[in-house]
Symmetry: C2
Subunit: 115 residues, 2 copies
DNA sequence: GTCATCTGCAAGTCGATGCTTGCACAAATG
DNA sequence: CATTTGTGCAAGCATCGACTTGCAGATGAC
């Protein structure tokens, strides 16, 4: 119920890094790119980029294709959509629980602090 | 366009930690809980839990209320929903870009590797 | 064949952070 | 008032991960 190889968690961890999000952005902008291409316009080394791409590939956020001596990467939306769906489900659970609590505390008009 | 105080990134980073997700789960299950309550049923110290709750509060995933000498925490779905929406938008952008590319590469029937 | 370029592997550095222990303070109970 | 219980602050440790540098191998160009 909670753990099912935890795909969502992996994707979240991958997306948590700002550089990785930047790489994904750039990649999506170009459609396809190689490690060296990305390194040319991003403020990090090619090695760093390749390592990030390795992480992103492991969780299925990018895919790679080898052409000659070049390796081309592209973005894959599916995992992102799945994770978004997961988040919506969790949020729905929270909402359900909160409304239940509210119903139990019937009559109490005090809402929760607005942070 | 990319940076707008980056609320999504903050939430992602907060959700990336497994212990933090466990805390959120437990919290949602109970509706409300205190640091010591959570520490009683989770395999970490109260201090660790409070620190995590501090992070979660900073990004708006939980809110706290003080009653006497006890501080009660509860989950807040809004940030989660916002982040899910953000993910959907990004995924939509990726999809749009990918279909454009595909259209440009008209005639080519080769799909992308299935990882 | 020779040279330039792109990739892949490895090791090392450095900062961030998850978790702990220790203690002081505040509030409820007797 | 004394005791107990819950919270808040601080410092220390230890691990993880982001990034770099260095080099070897593979592929294309001249």
């Amino acid at each position: 119920m909670t753990a099912q190889s935890d795909a969502a968690g992996e994707v979240l961890a991958a997306l948590a890094d700002p550089t990785r999000r930047l790489i994904l952005d750039t990649l999506a902008k170009h459609g396809e790119a190689t490690g060296t291409t990305l390194a040319n316009e991003l403020p990090v080394t090619r090695q760093a980029i390749v390592q990030h791409l390795s992480v992103l590939d492991r969780v299925g956020l990018v895919a790679s294709r080898k052409d000659g001596r070049e390796r081309w990467y592209a973005v894959r939306p599916r995992q992102l959509l799945d994770t978004a769906r997961w988040m919506n489900q969790v949020a729905a659970q929270w909402n359900a629980r909160l409304t239940t609590i509210k119903r139990l505390a019937e009559g109490v008009d005090g809402e929760f602090p607005g942070r």
